[in-house]
Structure formats: structure tokens, C-alpha cells
């Protein structure tokens, strides 16, 4: 079924100029344009552990180094570690001579059967949270260096602020000091004394954190063992490069030094339209939920085109409308679209001149205004036209000239026994109609018969409702949206 919708044959032109199948795009209801994965902002919504499904806010995650505290990964094969329990006999606390069974836990990998016992880690009495962390020998030195450079950065910033303050204040004082006898300030400035604290610069000069400079040694700690030249190396006791780098803080050389690694957190992302900054896709808070809070997939807003019959003489396309509103669809050839686009651009640019009189710059407009401003719309038309003309086509459809009504998606339609509405369609163009689906006949004319892969394109005009206007009384008026569609027909 995914093959039916995810076809690479019918591709829509996104606003960024890339061709994508409909199911891979979003439809921004404010800009009324297609946005694909390449032209949206990807943002980190929340971090979660894919095993224990624990949501971690980004601040806390940074402290924990983006790792889950409870779940571990096998250092050998990178799979999840499972906790297993064994019973051992320990002397009970009350009566040391008696032996009482006690549960001890160890971690084992389900894939390669590595256990924590191989690392020499003793079994833990509690199931969670007591496995030792890797401690870096250099962490103290690194922290000291960080502190030192952070204090240097602060000092830099402070000096910059001071300079800026001085520059600003110097002009002000030279104009007004003599007039309004702000003599105190002027006097201080002339005498070269630093400004006093009452002017709001009470901060002391930040101190630099002192760090000992590093000393070079001739012999380092991790010298190569001279036995490596004499003893035969057993490769099963040596870690591979992958395993070594995965634990970059310790980088163990011997297999017995490998310890369990904390599992890394995965990211849930939300996607945002680059232009109007509205959210296009936002997941739920619960990490195990597959639903979305906001999901503006183009699949549900833009009518879908599928090749119904792929033969040269009798080419048929099926249009399906999956949105809640009925739309009027028109299929335009690229020439028709370019003439419409040019006329619209002229129209918008003339009204553009009037908006300029109100002195509104585009940077101050946000949201609705930005999307609807004539400047934006004109720019959109222009870019759409240039992108559409860039694509190479070697076949043309003969498209029906009039508008075709596509009813809204109605889930109850299959249960209705009565025949659907009487719509007057041109019988030559519209071959078949059922519910929200229409099959249209589009005979093909091929330009160049030699090329094997035939490709045709047209522009889809349909009415879409702009978001933000829905009130109960007034049914919002749909605006026309133009999307170029390119179809690879294969060898016919």
C-alpha cells in the first residue's frame, strides 16, 4: 500500500525547487504552499530514551551528556543490555551462621552474550542505577581549563562593554554637560578618573581563573608495552577501533576493560515553515504515542494525482481530494500557467505600490501579514514559475479546460446507498467519478520519440482555505494555489 502512495512517478514541485512525492511534503496553510523536508526548520522538540521511553528536557539532557541514566548498551556490539538476576547465598544479617538467598543482578547482552562479569564488574544488589560510571582521568584538568577560558571570555566581554559605554557617554556629555552643568560627570571625564559606581557600572573587573600551564614530559603514561614485540598477540583480548572510539573518554585497549555504555537519547523533532515560522509538524509529549499535535501533511490538503492508466493512446489520471473542503481543480499546461502567473504578478505589483505608502517594511510583518502581503505572493509566483520552467519535459498532456469539482472527503460515503450528486461533467474529460475521486482523460502527445523515459508536466490549480480565518458564521473563501506536477511515464 505504501507503494501506491509513495510512487516516485508523480512528483510535486516544492517551493524550494525540489521534486518530491506528495506524501513527503507538508502544506503550510498560511503560506498556501508546499514545503518539503529540505525547506523547513528542524527543531529538537524533546529528547527521550528509546528503551525506557523517558522524556528528558534539553537542559537536563545537557547535564547528563545526552545519555539515559538507566539503560545501557553493550560495548562490544552496541545492542541493549538486559538485566539478569542470580541467587547467591549470603549470611543473613541476624544470624551469621545461616545462609539466606539474595538476588544479585548483572547485565548481559542479548546479541553477543557479553556480561558485566567479563569486565570484572561485581554483580550489583539492586536492579537499577548502581553501575559504576566511567571516570575520566583528565576531567579535573579539563574543568580547570574550561573555567580559565570562560573567565577570559568574561573579561573580554566586560572590556568591550566598558568601551562601548565610554563611547556612548562621551558624545552625550560633550553636548549637554556645559549647557545643563552636569559638571560632575564632565569634571570626572576631564580629569580622567574612572566612572563611579552610581552610573550603573558597579561590576568589578572579573578576575582570571589561574591555571597551571601544562608541563611536557618525555615519557607519557600510555607507553607501549615492550612485551608487544615478544609475546604473541591474542586478538580476542584486544578491542577493535570501533569499540575503543565508542568509549572515547577511556579508550580501553584490552577487552577486559570494556564497561557498559549509557544509552544515548533519541530526538523528537518538530518542523517549522521557514518563511512564516508556523509549525508544520509537532509530535505529542508522550514518546510512545504515534500521533501528532499538529501535522499538516500535504497528503491531507492537496489533491492527489495518480496515473490511472499508463498507455500512450488512452492516458488517464486519477485525482483524489482528501481534505475536508470541496475544491475546484483545474489542470493547466505550463504555458497557461506562465500567462496566469505573469498577469498575477503585475496585479500584485501594482497593489504593492499602495502598500508601500503605508510604510510597512517586510521585516516588521509577521505571520498572516507576511504570508498575504502582495510582495510575498508576487515573489512566490515568480520563483514557482522559474522552478517549473527549469524542469525538462518531453511529452505533453491534453488537459481538460474547465474546472472540475472534487468533493470533500466523506468517510460515510461508502455506507450511503443513494447515488451521489448530479454533477454536470464534460463526458470527454471526466471519465469516472466516485465520492472524492475523479478519473480524467489526458491524451498524450510525445515530442521526442527517441528518448526512452517520457516525462510530462502540468500545473495543478486548486482552491485552498487560508488558515486563521475560520469563524463559525462565515465560510472562508478559498484562494487558488498553483503547484507544478511532473510525471515520469516510463517507457511507453
Amino acid at each position: 500500500m505504501t507503494h501506491l502512495f509513495k510512487s516516485e512517478k508523480v512528483q510535486y514541485l516544492c517551493t524550494c525547487g525540489s521534486l518530491k512525492p506528495l506524501c513527503r511534503t507538508f502544506f503550510c496553510r498560511h503560506c498556501l504552499a508546499l514545503k518539503c523536508g529540505d525547506c523547513v526548520f528542524h527543531e529538537v522538540d524533546i529528547l527521550y530514551c528509546s528503551n525506557c521511553l523517558e522524556n528528558v528536557p534539553p537542559g537536563e539532557a545537557r547535564v547528563k551528556k545526552n545519555q539515559c541514566s538507566e539503560c545501557f548498551e553493550c560495548p562490544v556490539c552496541d545492542q541493549l543490555l538486559l538485566t539478569r538476576a542470580t541467587n547467591i547465598q549470603v549470611p543473613s544479617t541476624e544470624d551469621p551462621s545461616k545462609l539466606v538467598p539474595k538476588k544479585m543482578f548483572y547485565l548481559v547482552c542479548g546479541f553477543c552474550r557479553w556480561t558485566t562479569r567479563e569486565a570484572g564488574l561485581p554483580d550489583q544488589p539492586s536492579a537499577t542505577g548502581s553501575w559504576p560510571d566511567s571516570d575520566n582521568a583528565n576531567s579535573a584538568r579539563v574543568a580547570a581549563l574550561l573555567e580559565h577560558y570562560r573567565s577570559l571570555a568574561q573579561l573580554d566581554k566586560f572590556e568591550k562593554e566598558q568601551k562601548r559605554q565610554l563611547k556612548r557617554r562621551s558624545n552625550y556629555l560633550s553636548f549637554t554637560a556645559d549647557k545643563y552643568s552636569l559638571s560632575a560627570l564632565a569634571a570626572r571625564k576631564r580629569s580622567g578618573l574612572p566612572f563611579s559606581g552610581s552610573l550603573g557600572m558597579k561590576k568589578e573587573t572579573p578576575q582570571i581563573y589561574k591555571v597551571e600551564s601544562a608541563v611536557a614530559f618525555e615519557e607519557t603514561d600510555d607507553m607501549l608495552d615492550p612485551e608487544i614485540f615478544t609475546k604473541v598477540l591474542n586478538l580476542s583480548f584486544v578491542t577493535t577501533i570501533d569499540q575503543r572510539i565508542r568509549q572515547s573518554e577511556r579508550q580501553p585497549v584490552k577487552s577486559e576493560d570494556l564497561i557498559p555504555i549509557h544509552k544515548f537519547l533519541s530526538v523528537r523533532r518538530s518542523q517549522r515553515c521557514r518563511f512564516c515560522e508556523h509549525n508544520l509538524s509537532k509530535p505529542e509529549y508522550n514518546p510512545s504515542s504515534i500521533k501528532f499535535k499538529i501535522h499538516l501533511g500535504a497528503f491531507y490538503h492537496v489533491p492527489d494525482v495518480i496515473i490511472f492508466r499508463n498507455s500512450r493512446d488512452d492516458m488517464q489520471l486519477r485525482l483524489c481530494n482528501r481534505s475536508q473542503y470541496p475544491t475546484h481543480v483545474r489542470l493547466l499546461s505550463l504555458d497557461q500557467f506562465s500567462s496566469i502567473a505573469h498577469s498575477k504578478i503585475e496585479e500584485l505589483e501594482s497593489s504593492f505600490g499602495e502598500a508601500e505608502k503605508e510604510k510597512k517594511s517586510s521585516s516588521s510583518m509577521v505571520g498572516h501579514e507576511l504570508c498575504e502581503s502582495p510582495a510575498t505572493q508576487a515573489a512566490n509566483f515568480r520563483s514557482c514559475l522559474t522552478n517549473a520552467l527549469k524542469e525538462k519535459v518531453n511529452a505533453f498532456f491534453q488537459l481538460p479546460s474547465e474546472q472540475i469539482l472534487l468533493p470533500a472527503r466523506d468517510d460515510l460515503a461508502e455506507y450511503e446507498l443513494t447515488a451521489p450528486q448530479n454533477l454536470k461533467d464534460d463526458p470527454k474529460a471526466v471519465l469516472w467519478r466516485k465520492g472524492n475521486k475523479v478519473v480524467v482523460s489526458t491524451p498524450l502527445t510525445v515530442l521526442d520519440d527517441e528518448l526512452e523515459e517520457k516525462r510530462a508536466g502540468f500545473v495543478f490549480e486548486f482552491g485552498a482555505v487560508r488558515a486563521g480565518f475560520e469563524t463559525k458564521e462565515v465560510q472562508p473563501q478559498p484562494t487558488n494555489v498553483y503547484i507544478p506536477v511532473f510525471i515520469s511515464l516510463g517507457k511507453i
Partner: protein, 172 residues
């Protein structure tokens, strides 16, 4: 030459061998070994000798293609749909699901052949060696923990299997 197919398998007392498993040729099965239905033990030319306390699960194919005897030791586990053509298997080994052990390989003691691994190396595997991974990416290492004994599982199977399947009568 004797018609090998006419030979009946020699099943020791205490072994649980289901009727629906396919036994062909000269086979000796030790006591307390459990053979699930749909297993195939085929001794085409040479005999197969299976020790005690083994578990041979469904769809397992143990095939002896050569003329010399194929010896399987004690306490081994052959998981579902694995294929064993190795001449010599020691004790306490585990061959996981869909694995394949070739004719040139011999398992010593305590080895684990991971799921879907094809082991065709021409050597006797070191004690406790372990193969994991899949396809062309099979890796090996040596494990220190021996696989645990299957005694409890064997007991359970001995009680439950006869309730649902017909068991072959022991024939020494």
C-alpha cells in the same frame, strides 16, 4: 550393503523422541535427550551418535554427508531451524536459530553459534568461542561465561511433550 533406511534408530531409555521427527539411517540417541517433532536427523552414509541431555528443537537438520561417524556430545542445545553438518560436536554448546555449522568445523566445549550465523571455517573452534552477527559480517570472540545447563528445561519437556505427541519407544 545393508539398506540403511531400514535401520531403526537406537534410542536409549529416558530419551524423549517424538514420532513426528524424521530419523534416517544409523542413529544412536543417548538418554534424557529430547528431540522435538519435525526435527530431521539424517545419517545418509555414516552413523550419527548423539549423547545425553541434548535438546534438539523443531526444524533442526542434523545431516551426516560423509562416511565416518558424526559424534555429538552431551548437554548441547540445537535451537529452531539450525543446520548442522559438523563431524564432531563436544559438550555444552549452543547452536542458535537458523545457524549453519559446516562440515569442516568442529565445535569443542561451551561454544555458541549465534542466530543466523554461517560458520564454515576449517578448524576446531576454541573452547568458549562465540560467533555473532549475520551475513558477511559474522564476528567471533571468546566468552568467559559458560552457557548455563538446561536441566530444568529438559525435565519440563520430558513431562509435557508426551501429553501432546506420540513418543517413539526406546530401542537399545
Amino acid at each position: 550393503m545393508q539398506d540403511l533406511k531400514r535401520l531403526k534408530a537406537k534410542i536409549a531409555n529416558g530419551a524423549i523422541v517424538c514420532c513426528e521427527c524424521e530419523l534416517q539411517g544409523d542413529i544412536t540417541i543417548g538418554s534424557r535427550t529430547v528431540i522435538h517433532p519435525r526435527a530431521k536427523i539424517i545419517a545418509l552414509l555414516g552413523p550419527i551418535i548423539i549423547g545425553e541431555n541434548n535438546i534438539i528443537e523443531e526444524q533442526v537438520q542434523i545431516i551426516n554427508n560423509g562416511e565416518d561417524a558424526m559424534v555429538i556430545g552431551n548437554n548441547n542445545v540445537f535451537e529452531v531451524d539450525c543446520r548442522v553438518e559438523s563431524k564432531k560436536i563436544g559438550d555444552n554448546n549452543i547452536v542458535e536459530s537458523k545457524a549453519f555449522v559446516g562440515r569442516q568445523t568442529s565445535l569443542s566445549n561451551g561454544c555458541v553459534i549465534g542466530a543466523k550465523c554461517e560458520v564454515l571455517v576449517h578448524e576446531t573452534l576454541q573452547e568458549g568461542s562465540l560467533f555473532y552477527g549475520s551475513g558477511p559480517d559474522v564476528k567471533r570472540r571468546v566468552q568467559s561465561d559458560k552457557p548455563s545447563a538446561q536441566g530444568a528445561q529438559i525435565e519440563f519437556l520430558s513431562k509435557v511433550l508426551p501429553n501432546y505427541h506420540r513418543i517413539r519407544k526406546p530401542l537399545v
